[in-house]
């Protein structure tokens, strides 16, 4: 499973919003790091998306990636995410970490990093919602 939320800015009218995407991988099951190529070369099959700014050349200002086996329950993701943020919070962006069988990545530009906690909460909420919506 690959959940990703992007804070994007339109280059045309400068509107900003959060888009989120929910992919599934099917039979893959793993512990620790996901198999090679997931999610950058093989994000899985897109199941559902939540769009506030139509994609296509928008500048990505921040992102949250969560990668885990399809059957992972949200409670495991939430616990891993809490640990990931706790361990990463003094580091510079981008953050990457593996907690159990969940891979987390967060990146954001300097303009958003000033309010990083709110930004992460917004991305997390969008990722959670698109998964439920799917």
């Amino acid at each position: 499973m690959y959940l990703t939320a992007h804070h994007v800015a339109s280059l045309q009218d400068h509107r900003e919003g959060i888009n989120a995407f929910f992919y599934l991988h099917g039979a893959y099951v793993w512990e620790g790091l996901p198999p090679d190529g997931i999610p950058d070369r093989d994000p899985g099959i897109l199941q559902h998306q939540s769009i506030s700014i139509p994609p296509g050349g928008n500048r990505v200002r921040s992102y949250l990636d969560i990668v885990m086996p399809d059957e992972t329950q949200w409670t495991e993701i939430r616990h891993g995410f809490m640990t990931f943020v706790s361990e990463s919070q003094l580091q510079q962006f981008p953050w990457t970490g593996v907690i159990g069988r969940c891979l987390f990545r967060i990146g954001m530009d300097a303009g958003l990093a000033a309010n990083w906690q709110t930004e992460i909460a917004n991305l997390y909420r969008a990722a959670q919602a698109v998964r439920i919506g799917g």
Partner: protein, 90 residues
Amino acid sequence: MTGAARRYDELRIELLLARADAGGSLPQKDEAKFAADLDRCWRVMTDLEQEAVENSLGQQQAPRAPEALRVVDRPVLNGERQPPRVSEAA
């Protein structure tokens, strides 16, 4: 780090996620419970731990980050196997 200091750190992240889970803000009674739990941890932490938390909170206000990510999004249809963002250079 003692158990109290570790718990204090966990509570701060839990509060962040709980607010997100609730759609942005928590009911007053839930906020009050978090505040009470944080206060309880704070009172049993050592002076050095409290100082470390205060210092880390100061640093957290602006973690270093690049001016721009140099990444753009792209449209993907349901059922496709394409990532939804790519490097600007791609």
